[in-house]
């Protein structure tokens, strides 16, 4: 059964993704920032990581770089609602650094479910 790590600092969004992906039959673990996320990833293996970009402690871009370094085959989905810049700017960086898919918040449940399904197929 594929294992998914959700790194997201927003409680509601994290809970939404956890709830949604669990219903889809995935094993889901969560982390509230990039630092915790990278630590969790190093502790146990995951098939796919969904990460937000702007987070305290360690942001999504740094997290992606760390994660990609050890696992070139890792599937990565970056999500962002933007901050000082438009979400696309962050997501474009994430894509360049190795995110397989990017989703701009707010996205539909179907969109994220489809992205996960595609990447894990």
């Amino acid at each position: 059964m594929p294992r998914i790590l959700v790194i997201e600092d927003d409680d509601e969004v994290r809970e939404l993704l956890e709830s949604l992906l669990t219903r889809e039959g995935h094993v889901v673990a969560t982390a509230a920032n990039g630092k915790q996320g990278v630590a969790a990833f190093l502790a146990e293996p995951f098939d796919l990581v969904i990460t937000d970009i702007i987070m305290p402690e360690k942001d999504g871009i740094e997290a992606i770089m760390d994660l990609r370094r050890g696992r070139p085959d890792l599937k990565l989905i970056a999500i962002s609602g933007g901050g000082r810049a438009e979400p696309e700017n962050y997501l474009h960086s994430a894509q360049l650094l190795g995110a397989n898919r990017t989703l701009r918040k707010p996205f539909s449940n179907e969109a994220i479910v489809a992205a996960v399904r595609d990447l894990l197929a």
Partner: protein, 867 residues
């Protein structure tokens, strides 16, 4: 000398004889030569010609005469003539003896004067040949003109010498006996050198006069014994133009300014005691027309008594008014520049006023600068200025006293002699001029209260000052405008940063709403799951509401709910909370003044302010501990308090200061203290807005925040909140459960221009049992009430709607059906468009966005169904 003896030799006879013979023959009508006939051989019959006889008689007579003549001269020559001639010969002036225009004798000095060569014969020489007159026009040789009087100046005779040079001489011609016959003696004194010197002196004098005239210097000569002054015309023009030139020293000195007179006397005394070679003094001189001029007086002792006492002073005066004015202007200009650069606002106006008073020797001043809104920021030095009150004031255009309005309107300085508007104001003259750059009027400068009044020259000086000051003030105003723009752009940038944070948070909220509502649709058949999903949706909307609140708190124009409260309990509560949570090495010191009064800020914002400030202070002392001091005390803004705008003077504020003994704020961080999301990593944590929230909250209620890093260390954060009390609104209590039939039988007219809100109200109030009718605007609502005044128990209205406002509707309702309760629904910080008393129009006020229960409770209270 040998020649002298031959001077009167017989050759004088021969011509005389020839002449006489010729004359005799002519008289006799004889043709032919006389002497040859006379010498003809004897026997010639013509010998006894009558003419010859007469001729011979005449000749003999002439010979006899000559012999007699010689015999008469002889005693002279023998007795003293030789000595006499020697004397004449060696005289130190020229002597020419002449008779009938011919020279008889020229002495040695004369020969030199006429440039005759040594030994050149002169006897018989025509005067015109000896000494040709240079004045061709003279009808007679000047030596021939006998001097009739020696009382006057002897005439000057100009003679052109043979070599072309000019001899200028003084001559004296007399008639005198000479060798027994009358002759003329002309005495000649060479004046060539003396006249040249005189001419040169004269020219020099003229040149000096011209030079002095060009320099406009006046020359004076003072007799110290009599006090009499003699001066040139320029002297009079300089020290007393348009009036009589003083002839005595007392009158002269009386024209000099009192203060300068002492200085002058001291300078003269020093000079008279030989301490200085001359004295020089710049003096102000009061002129007949009342104006004053600057005069440079220079003088020295010209004569002293045998004992050394000065007897006579001479010197010059020069009008240096223009130079002094130019100097003063330059000096003034640099002082103005320094003042404008170094000071601002009220302090600047004070400093300018003091400069004006000093420069124009006036006791009072007032300086006003117009702000962008056309209001006059005015600083008056004293109450006695007509129509003014002392101190700093901000006057709207119509509040500017009439006199000053006239000054502002006039292009040139005005001298006003009438009193101001205040009945007790003394009749002090006022001199004022506006400050203007091109066509833009920037303000005005005035002086007043000078006893002797103001003159044209004072007006000129003030105009000059205004001319120099205007560009400086303009530059200052433009700088301030740029500062304001900069501050605005910084604010805009901060808002941009805030917007970024909002976008981030808002997208998360939307994400939650979107995702959970989507799940809810799936979970429709599972009530437990459905509830969880919807709870999440609701939670997200509450977060959205918080977010909007935070944005509003940041913005200046939209503030938090403003109510007045006693800050003391909240400050003490914050201190207690803090004391319970800080590490042991931090001590809390809370000092709350007893007379803090009330502040116009909500409890929640005040708590937030205290929390944020104490949090920062605490963090600053995380390592090493220290003392955290919280101070709350009242403050009334002093006029010279530079921290506040000048119009805040006299305002009552509450100072909330939080001081720590920590590391202080690094210089680099100070400018960004209030930036929202200064630490971007905290976005989404809810505390990211930090000090920007404090700033937003404080400025929203019209307060100010300052951070200081005292030399002693640590940081002091001071928040100043207005203490003006405002009418309080009923606080919303947590809604108690409501009976579903609370509003049964009660009829409500709900007025709002937004359809969604009307629909929501129908559902919410309907559930509580109310019968709800709606109207989309105030006019429709008013007509509905007039149609059936008894149809409703409560009217609920929005405040801002197209057409009538909620307040206007409430007024109509009160007229149509007195006593019908009106509930006002209004946005945050929107106050009803009227005075405090207008709140009486409304039974209840509900703040938007409202929760269901708060609306229902308000309507229930208005309807009298709950209390």
């Amino acid at each position: 000398m040998p020649r002298s003896r031959n001077v009167f030799r017989p050759p004088a006879f021969l011509p005389a004889l020839a002449l006489l013979a010729g004359a005799g023959r002519a008289c006799a009508g004889i043709e032919g030569p006389v002497l040859p006939g006379w010498l003809r051989p004897s026997g010639a019959p013509a010998w006894f010609d009558i003419g010859e006889v007469v001729l011979v008689i005449l000749v003999l007579a002439a010979i006899a005469g000559a012999i007699r003549y010689r015999s008469r001269l002889r005693p002279l020559r023998t007795a003293g003539e030789t000595r006499y001639l020697k004397l004449v010969q060696s005289a130190p002036f020229g002597v020419v003896v002449h008779r009938g225009g011919r020279v008889l004798f020229v002495n040695e000095h004369g020969r030199l004067l006429f440039g005759l060569e040594a030994g050149a014969p002169t006897q018989g020489l025509p005067l015109d040949q000896l000494a040709p007159s240079a004045d061709a026009a003279a009808p007679e040789h000047p030596f021939n003109v006998v001097t009739t009087s020696t009382a006057g100046m002897m005439p000057i005779v100009r003679i052109r010498r043979a070599d072309g040079t000019l001899l200028e001489a003084q001559t004296l011609t007399i008639t005198n006996d000479f060798s027994g016959a009358n002759a003329r003696l002309t005495f000649i004194r060479d004046m060539t050198i003396e006249l040249a010197a005189q001419r040169e002196l004269h020219e020099n004098r003229e040149r000096l006069a011209v030079a002095l005239d060009a320099a406009r210097d006046g020359i004076w000569d003072l007799d110290l014994a009599t006090g009499r002054v003699e001066g040139t015309a320029a002297f009079g023009e300089i020290i007393a133009p348009g009036a009589a030139t003083p002839v005595d020293v007392a009158t002269w000195r009386g024209l000099i300014h009192r203060a300068d007179r002492d200085r002058l006397e001291a300078a003269i005394a020093d000079h008279e005691q030989d301490l200085t070679s001359s004295y020089e003094c710049e003096l102000r001189v009061r002129r007949a027309d009342g104006s004053s001029a600057w005069v440079l007086e220079h003088g020295r002792v010209a004569r002293r008594s045998a004992g050394g006492a000065p007897l006579r002073l001479v010197g010059t005066v020069r009008d240096v008014t223009l130079r002094k004015r130019a100097e003063r202007r330059l000096d003034m200009r640099s002082r103005l520049t320094a003042t404008v650069v170094a000071t601002r606002d009220a302090e600047l106006r004070d400093a300018l006023g003091s400069l004006l008073r000093e420069e124009l020797e006036a006791p009072y001043s007032c300086v006003g600068i117009l702000d962008r809104g056309g209001r006059l920021r005015l600083t008056c030095s004293r109450h006695d200025v007509p129509g003014m009150t002392p101190g700093h004031r901000l006057l709207s255009p119509e509040a500017v006293p009439a006199g000053l309005q006239r000054v502002l309107a006039a292009a040139t300085p005005l001298i006003l002699v009438e009193t101001g508007n205040e009945p007790d104001a003394p009749a002090a003259p006022l001199l004022g001029v506006r400050l203007a750059s091109d066509d833009r009027v920037l303000g005005l400068v005035c002086v007043a209260g000078r006893e002797e009044g103001f003159l044209r020259e004072d007006a000129d000086m003030l105009a000059t000052i205004a001319e120099d000051l205007a560009p400086l003030i303009l530059a200052r105003l433009e700088t301030e405008a740029i500062d304001a723009q900069l501050a605005q752009s910084q604010k805009t940038e901060a808002l941009g940063v805030l917007a970024g944070g909002i976008a981030h948070d808002f997208n998360n909220i939307l994400q939650a709403i979107m995702g959970f509502s989507s799940l809810a649709r799936q979970d429709a058949a599972d009530p437990a799951r459905l509830t969880t999903d919807l709870d999440r949706v609701q939670k997200a909307t509450v977060r959205g509401q918080d977010l909007v609140q935070r944005i509003l708190q940041f913005s200046r124009s939209e503030g938090p709910d403003t109510e007045s409260l006693d800050p003391a309990p909240l400050v003490q509560e914050a201190a207690r909370e803090l004391a319970a949570t800080v590490p042991a090495d931090i001590t809390i010191d809370c000092r709350v003044a007893p007379d803090c009064g009330r502040v116009r800020v909500g409890a929640q914002p005040l708590r937030q302010i205290l929390r944020n400030l104490t949090q920062n202070a605490r963090q600053a002392m995380e390592t090493g501990g220290g003392r955290l001091t919280i101070i709350a005390r009242p403050l009334t803004v002093e006029p010279d308090d530079g921290r506040f705008p000048v119009e805040w003077t006299g305002r009552d504020l509450l100072e909330l200061a939080v001081a720590d003994t920590g590391a202080g704020i690094p210089e680099a961080h100070r400018a960004r203290l209030f930036d929202p999301f200064f630490t971007t990593r905290e976005v989404g944590q809810g505390s990211g807005l930090g000090l920007s929230v404090v700033h937003g909250l404080v400025t929203a209620v019209g307060g100010r925040v300052f951070f200081e890093t005292p030399a002693a260390g640590g940081t002091v954060a001071s928040v100043f909140l207005p203490r003006t009390p405002v009418i309080g609104r009923p606080a919303e209590s947590d809604s108690p459960p409501l009976p579903a039939t609370a509003g049964a039988g009660k009829r409500v007219l709900f007025v709002d221009d937004e359809e969604e809100i009307r629909e929501l109200a129908v559902v919410l109030l309907g559930r509580a049992g109310f019968q709800v009718e709606t109207a989309a605007d105030g006019f429709a609502a008013g007509e509905r009430i007039l149609a059936g005044p008894g149809d409703f128990d409560v009217v609920v209205t929005d405040q801002y709607m197209p057409g009538l406002t909620g307040r206007e509707l409430a007024v109509r309702v009160a007229a149509a059906r007195p006593g019908l309760p009106v509930v006002l629904v209004t946005g945050m910080n929107e106050t009803p468009d009227g005075q405090e008393g207008d709140l009486a129009l409304f039974r209840e006020v509900v703040i938007k966005p409202f929760s269901g229960p708060s609306l229902v409770m308000a309507v229930c209270r208005a309807a009298g169904v709950v209390h």
